[in-house]
Amino acid sequence: MRLTVPGRLEAGLTAADGDVVAVIGPNGAGKSTLVRALAGLVQADGHARLDGVNLLRVPARDRHVGLVFQDQMLFPHLTARDNVAFGPRARGVPRAEADAAAVAWLDRLGVAELAGRRPRQLSGGQAQRVAIARALAADPRLLLLDEPMAGLDVGVATSLRLELSAHLAEFTGVTLLVTHDAIDALTIASHVLVVDEGRVAQFGTPLEVSQQPATDHVARLVGLNVLRRGDLLRAFSPTAVTVDVQEPHGSARNRWPGRVAAVSPHGGTLRLVVRTTDGPELIADVTPAAATELGLTPGRAVWLSVKESSVRSYAAAPA
């Protein structure tokens, strides 16, 4: 699949039936554009072949692409059942049959008892379940989820994530899951597509992407420092960073002067965000004891260093 939305996005990727591709990247990187182009709501050039048919030549209504919108977009004047039955009925399924199918889908998503409610009577998590049921009931071959967990409470998101993961495992088509949350990308997806500035920055398994992040954004998401040196990217963990208040004399060849920008608790340690004099912002984890001893408060001038043995180097992924 390769598609271009002029001025906004250029992307290529391949996925097999059953794959769940997480799409991550900063705001405005083109994640939603990708989804909307595949759904047929935005014009795109190129080709997106699905079962031998080029989707991009087919109008939205005939694509058989299920789209779960970020804010659900459940029809507010229809009950949950009628929302889910909308897809089958639009394709000519008789009313009774469509209603039965809708209730069955609501049941699979665990919200059958809410069939008679209207969207405004549903909580965020319930509405998202109905929205997923509505997309699946239309029998899509490609399922697109646009930040399905956004705007939900943490607890609700967590249980929805669990269920979604189970449903996607059953789903036989290809799934694209847009998310801004590393947890989604790394726990649900079989592949991760990193989009940045309208291009694909990285495409690989969750493990590859989390261990060798190609962009700053992903590095932050998975909690690593990443620096570029020529064509190489060099990643190291914040726990591997040593913090000194004077220039260190040790063997560490990677050292940066800078100032503490922020301090926050991070598990049992304190996480420093240090703005280095030369440019990049680095994160370093120190023990509370060390922080007190060195007086590491915001504004403090420090030296960071990291041993070469703690740095993983890898080729920057071609865009």
Binding site: G40, L41, R63, G66, L67, M73, A90, A138
Partner: protein
Amino acid sequence: MRTAPDPLGRPPALLLVPAALATALLVVPLAAMVAAVDWPGLPAQLRSEPLRDALWLSLTTSTAAMLVCLLLGLPLAWLLARVDFAGRGALRALVTVPLVLPPVVAGVALRTAFGRTGVLGAPLEELTGFSFPFTVWGVVLAHVFVSLPFVVIAVEGALRSANPEYDAAAATLGASRWTGFRRVTVPLALPGILAGMVLGWARSLGEFGATITFNGNYPGRTQTMPTLIYVTRQADQDAALALSLVMLVVSVAILVMLRDRWLVTP
């Protein structure tokens, strides 16, 4: 909270005084009119044949005009609100011209088009023997011409304020545009569509300039309420007041119907 002092401070007299004057200017004439009505004689006035004829004509022609406006105006409003095509701005401009056109000019325009010697009126009469001016149908035509832009603009606003993402959702679920229009777009915009229709109806009911210019003033055929009031205002002030009172009551009733859109403080 309503009766609490305003957190931003008292409104200044520099604004309160003109606002009070404006209110007085709008309210006093209506109050004076209601006070001037000859209440004991009112029942007799309301039973008079000219009034009943004119009221019946006004109600039926306005309702017919409203239905035509819905039938033609809703699709046009939808086109303007939901379809992206070259010349959309020009089309909206054309549609809104009659909105600011003086009604008398609208009457003249209708006459040149649908009059007995008009561009369309002449062939129409030759073919069918029917012509619009000075008939009930002429009144309906004048009402439609004047009200349609109101209905289109109001309904377009209602359609625009309904999120087009719902249409997109319907399309991804396999709905054609017609299905989406019927099952999603219209139901979601229904309150606004109804309000637009009521507005159009009210506009028709009060219409005077285009109707009298196009259709003259024939009792029982083209004499609507406003025309009757105009004709009787000099000769029989009590009758004019009685007729005006009826129209005022209707206007207030319309406002009550539209109150959810205009009168409720958001």
